[in-house]
């Protein structure tokens, strides 16, 4: 029985009244003043819906079908729009996942900050503006006095996320809902944002519901954790207990994700693809600068870096979607044309690509069969029976049942299934080399793990060479043989996995490693300290 919020047997439904799709079922939540509750689960677990429901808010088409949401004496499940409007922003505030999308592009930050206080009459314009500056300062935003007068697009993602937290604090609410607030951020930025959020909630004794899929993160923020799955509660416990001795298997499986390791292959291997002083420009901006390295045959090379480090540009250049402005790309020792249109059919076939966003990488208007049939026909020239057989074979390779899936349309597939189809499409060409561009970053951890295992298996069976573009060091640790660390279009450090992770030479590499969330409660404080030092070290160097 929480003294601020008590949710009992909450049921959310969508779709028709007759056979509704259940979104939440029998959910109980308790929250005391000043307490932080972590909601953990994979996408579709219903954690966001639960978070919004805690505000008495449901999205269009969703309805509260049962249960009570008791916030400080009012039952939000039955409250009138007017009542809710009075509470929203005033006593319950919301911090959304993508600050970039959740700030109104048409108004200045500070005006959006002031809107709440003015509407709820907690402050006049002048007071609101002063308060905004104060909160910006507490959120450790750069030059807090003027940043408010910028438009959202003029402010970086990490800063926006902090500005939004400040906005949520504007009326000093009793409860804030954090909905995956750092998912979209780079690890190094994430640390700062997480820190600022924790400080400010502590400072004002604000209670919070922190929604995320990242256990390491939640373990830093929450006093208690509730794990959810399929709209139901799996288990709830204090953070420490939850980390050390989870009771449910599902919870353990979540924990286990971080445990796969591909035995690193070391020792000499002749290069399949060599980059020789490659540089690339977007107009005047130099995206790549003097990139030299070789991709070893049959190995997996991971290219790591934060957004803007040029790793995706590198992928484009190798794929031939972007011609290098200097340097050469050698394929099997022979130079490779910059423009894919100038490459031979064989080269196009041998170099394949898997994309980050499976739903934009596959034509939503095609069925799985159409998606695979075309490249098979195109590259192998198989027809009739043989072609159909090959398509089924591909489906088996990616562990999807042909009979169930071949005739589904792409939108009818789950994220993981889409990504598998993406892999199958690449395999259809019988390639030797596959570029994997952030292929797991849009997926839940369990699913991601499945994909990684699949890729490892395929590599063994088909002797493929991978280049992994990613910002997620956990993934790198899982599958890379070689690691290339990139920053601002240059290679910071490159070497075997072991060397990079155990004995990083460069300060940036160290900071990057330190930023990866760890599952012990003290990590965040350590990481912030280290990060501070590392940054000063970098500036020194």
């Amino acid at each position: 029985m929480g003294n601020l919020l008590t949710i009992r047997d909450l049921r959310l439904e969508a779709g028709s009244k007759t056979d509704p799709t259940v979104i939440l079922e029998g959910l109980d939540l308790d929250l005391d003043r000043g307490e932080v509750l972590g909601l953990v689960g994979e996408s579709g677990a219903g954690k966001s819906s639960a978070g919004l429901a805690a505000m008495g808010f449901v999205r269009d088409g969703v309805r509260i079908a049962g249960g009570r949401i008791d916030f400080d004496g009012t039952d939000l499940a039955r409250a009138s729009h007017a009542t809710l409007r009075r509470l929203h922003g005033r006593r319950i505030a919301y911090v959304a996942q993508s600050a970039a999308a959740s700030f109104n592009p048409a108004h200045r930050l500070i005006d959006q900050f002031a809107e709440g206080p003015l509407l709820h009459g907690t402050a006049d314009a002048a007071a609101a503006h002063d308060d905004a500056r104060a909160l910006y300062r507490q959120m450790r935003l750069p030059n807090p006095d003027e940043i408010g007068f910028r438009y959202p697009h003029e402010v970086s993602g990490g800063q926006l996320q902090r500005a939004m937290t400040a906005m949520a604090m504007a009326c000093r609410p009793d409860l804030i809902i954090f909905d995956e607030p750092t998912t979209a951020l780079d690890v190094t930025t994430q640390i700062e944002v997480l820190g600022a959020m924790r400080d400010i909630t502590e400072r004002y004794g604000t209670a919070a519901i922190y929604i995320t899929h990242d256990l390491a993160v939640v373990s830093q923020m929450a006093d208690r954790i509730t794990v959810m799955r399929h709209g139901r509660e799996v288990e709830t416990a204090a953070t420490q207990r939850m980390l050390e001795s989870p009771e449910q298997d599902y919870t353990r499986s979540l924990w286990a994700v971080r445990s796969i390791r591909k035995p690193a292959e070391t020792g000499p291997a002749e290069p399949l693809l060599t980059l020789d002083g490659v540089g690339a420009h977007y107009r005047s901006f130099k995206a790549l600068d003097g990139i030299d390295f070789a991709l070893a045959r049959g190995r997996t090379t991971a290219v790591v870096g934060e957004s803007g480090s040029g790793k995706s540009t590198l992928a484009k250049v190798i794929a031939g979607l972007m011609a290098p402005s200097e340097g050469r790309v050698l394929w099997d020792g022979a130079p490779l044309a910059g423009d894919h249109a100038k490459r031979s059919r064989a080269q196009l076939r041998e170099i394949q690509m898997i994309y980050q966003m499976a739903d934009t990488a596959l034509n939503p208007r095609h069925t799985v069969r159409e998606t695979l049939d075309r490249p098979v026909a195109f590259f192998t020239g198989l027809r009739g029976k043989a072609r159909r057989a090959r398509v089924r074979e591909l489906m088996e390779l990616i562990e999807l049942d042909p009979d169930t899936f071949l005739d589904r349309r792409i939108p009818e597939l789950s994220g993981g299934q889409k990504q598998r189809v993406g892999i199958a499409r690449a395999l259809a060409a019988k390639p030797r080399f596959i570029i994997c561009d952030e292929i797991t970053s849009a997926l839940d951890q369990l699913v991601a793990e499945g994909i990684l295992k699949l890729l490892i298996r395929l590599q063994k069976e088909l002797g493929l060479t991978y280049m992994f573009i990613t910002h997620d060091l956990a993934t790198v640790e899982a599958i890379a043989d070689e690691v290339v660390v990139m920053k601002e279009g240059r290679i910071v450090e490159a070497g075997p996995r072991g060397q990079i992770f155990e004995a990083p030479q460069q300060a940036y590499t160290r900071r990057l490693l330190a930023s990866v969330p760890q599952m012990d409660a003290g990590w965040l404080d350590r990481a912030r300290r280290d990060a501070a030092e590392a940054r000063s070290a970098e500036t020194a160097a």
């Binding site: 196009l348 939503p364 195109f378």
Partner: protein, 271 residues
């Protein structure tokens, strides 16, 4: 069928009207009590058993004219929009796909086309090539080509940016495949929506041309021209011209009901 069950009443209404119109038009000779141009009695006979809608200015049976009108009107509109959209969309997608100077050239050409007032353009072109029905279809198609080009180009632009186009390109797919199989299916809903309105504008446009004396030539019956032929009556409080006008309105509204519904479904699929 499952589709229909999910359809809102407005859309169902629209579909019914459209289907009815198409059927009537298709089987006009069987349905119509009299011939299209057949003179069956005195001018402007009142509504009666043998002439449910009376007769028109030349003593032709109004009902029969309406029925044949459905055929000509809808037929023409279909043909015209068909041409305008197939050509316009193809060009628009092509421009979006190629980009660069090809795109520039085509877009500027379209700008020029759009900068000339449609009615004037039609007047001049028809005066040049003569106001036969095929010519009129051609001219209106050309005029509508421009907006369709713009629309499909804009829509295709968003699609071209997506990875699956990149993937198809990396595969070395030809232009035709990219246009037909990769892009077109993704912008079709947008095009359909536009087509709905254009389709109706065609017979309004034809009506306007008839008004300026270069539309469909008598004795061919088409709703737009029938409004024109009998328009003068309305100033004497005679409702005859309201019949074709009402038919046009009904069809327009119906088609837009369908279009709105389709759009709604399309947007639903995306989210």
């Amino acid at each position: 069928m499952t589709l229909l069950r999910t359809a809102p009443p407005t859309a169902i209404f629209g579909l019914l009207v459209l289907a009815a119109t198409l059927l009537i038009g298709l089987f006009a000779p069987l349905v119509a009590p009299y011939g299209e141009t057949e003179i069956v009695g005195a001018e402007y006979l009142p509504w009666s058993a043998e002439h449910p809608l009376g007769t028109d200015n030349l003593g032709r049976d109004m009902l029969s004219r309406m029925i044949f009108g459905a055929r000509n009107t809808v037929g023409l509109a279909l043909l015209t929009t068909g041409i305008a959209f197939s050509v316009g969309a193809a060009l628009g997608m092509f421009a979006a796909l190629k980009g660069g100077w090809v795109d520039q050239l085509m877009s500027r050409a379209v700008d020029v086309l759009m900068a000339v007032p449609p009615l004037i353009l039609a007047l001049m072109l028809l005066a040049i090539i003569g106001p036969s029905i095929p010519n009129m279809v051609g001219v209106i198609a050309v005029i509508y080509l421009a907006p369709v080009f713009r629309l499909s180009r804009a829509a295709a632009m968003n699609v071209v940016a997506l990875d699956f186009i990149g993937a198809a390109r990396l595969r070395g797919e030809g232009t035709v495949w990219l246009l037909r199989r990769e892009i077109l299916p993704n912008i079709s809903s947008t095009l359909v929506a536009e087509a709905g309105l254009r389709f109706c504008f065609v017979f309004l446009f034809i009506a306007a041309l008839s008004f300026l004396g270069i539309g469909i030539q008598p004795p061919t019956a088409d709703w737009g021209s029938m409004v024109k032929e009998n328009a003068t009556l309305i100033t004497f409080g005679d409702v005859t011209p309201l019949i074709p006008a009402g038919a046009i309105a009904l069809l327009t509204v119906s088609i837009n009901f369908i279009v709105d519904w389709m759009l709604h479904r399309a947007s639903g699929l995306k989210s």
